[in-house]
Amino acid sequence: MPLIQVKDLRVGYNVYEGLLKVLDGINFFVERKEKVGIIGESACGKTTAMKAIMRILAKNSVLMGGKILYDGNDILRMNDTQFTEIRRKKFSMIFQDPSAALNPVFTIRQQFYDIIRYSSNQRMTKDMIHERAVELLKQAALPEPERILDSYPFQLSGGMKQRVNIAMALVSANELLIADEPGTALDVTIEDQILRLLKKIVEERRISIILISHALGTIKHFVDRIYVMYAGTIVESGPTEKVFKNPKHPYTQLLIDSVPKLTGEGVPEGIPGIVPSYLNPPHGCRFVTRCPYAMQVCKEKVPPSYEVEQLHYASCFLYDNGENGKDE
């Protein structure tokens, strides 16, 4: 049984203009000790899916259906006490902007101590808490833990802040770490260091990670399996190597092509068009408005998931060879 299994998750947001239907029945799973990547352009619902797992969706969000199974239990139906235990002992999330994810008016010490204190069932002495904080800061490769603890967030650099966030996440990430574009707000060399650090930590701790990233080049070497999201749907999934070497969905093909290469072929053109409005998304395939291969059927029906090669799935009618597609 997978650690996390998301089944037909539908999430919308109530806004002034109406209901934004963002997540349109997505399915994915994460095995224990597995490194899973999610790619896709901005505003395609990646963060919404992650927030749904941590149950920190905004107040105007609407859960329209689906399940998130953790060890077979639906976390969306757990009571707050049960889920708080999971937040304290099993799952953690690292946010995109390290500056925004730390409370600006408390020292790292104040914040870190509370996180450690409340994640433990036993009463911990101040010395025990301190020892644990120092140990975790060292695991996050931060030198001078004492100085870091006495600092306010604004006194640290972006890279240091993200390491602090990672250290804090490690308090409770005993089974799953969710990293939502952990390097996007940092410069490229720091981003690379942060991703290496995350890889080292999840392998040492033998935990699962869901990594969201725009850096296709980096994610390629990081994760075992990858999901490609477009406009609130998962369009393709499979082992990382297969998806990158042999992308099947037209969106994945265009996405990989739009990464600039160093071989001097000029600047890639990107994908023409924009993500459709979530207020009134297309009835069939959500990529139909931008797809160079769009057919009549794409406008009418939502494409099922076809197994294009072993363990490699694409939701596209191009791979409809008469048999019925397989729903994951």
Partner: protein, 316 residues
Amino acid sequence: MIARVLPGDPARLALGPRAPQQAVDALRAELHLNDPIFVQYWYWLSGVFTGNWGISLFTQRNVLIDVSEFLPATVELILAAAIIDLALAIPLGMLAGRMANTFVDNTVRIISYIGIAIPAFVVAIILQLTLGYGLHIFPIIGRLDQSIQPPPRITGLYVIDGLITGNFSVAANALWHLVLPAFALALGPIAQEARILRSSVVENLNKDYTLAEISHGLPERIITLKYLMKPSLIPMITIYALDISSQIANAFLIELIFNWPGFSRYGLNAMLSKDLNAIVATVMVAGIMFVVANTIVDLVVSYLDPRIRFQAESEE
């Protein structure tokens, strides 16, 4: 200085329309009113530091004595209002923000709009009529019951003097008299500050750091009362400073209505009777109180917001 260029002769006003011209001229000379304005300013400035603030034309006493008699009553009133203000604005704002767009929030919203819309003197009269005259819960006017002697003067604040000297019944009586005027004075600021606090709470609830705190599994109580409250208080406290400072000027209506022998009312009388030395002293004391109140609040804000504190240190 502006007081000097107002039309009307202060000496004539002091002596009344039927006084002979010689008497007026003599008073003008005695008050140095015929000297150039800079000379007059020098007389005044040197007097301020030696304790001679000039004679009030209205009370015929050194203005310093008047100020020391009337100021404590206003200070006591404003302090009481400031305490009621904080004690109500913070819980109301936090509650409304935490429960945004619920029944609780809407109730606080309606109370706030009423508080902002109704002037303090109307609130004062309504309170007098209902809780004072109607239900006899609170006294209507004055600082103490007529039958009670004021406590020995130490600070001039009856409640504090009563506590220091052990006259607890006097302190309690003085406190009882403070409730209505202080609440009437505080209601407007409470309403305004609760709204400001509510909007910072709503804003900070959607910040990544709050989501991170939730996803770390911190208890809701700790998140609300510690991690959410401290950053949310900063904008409110700044407005609070301005509100409290301007109370010095706003208090005169309340002092009139509650027959409170205070400094704001004294200043108003001084202006109406063109009592030059008293006007100047009123302006000066009000200015000093304004500066003191703002300094205290600046210190509080820099305690709440380390970014301000460290910025100041690094500039030194």
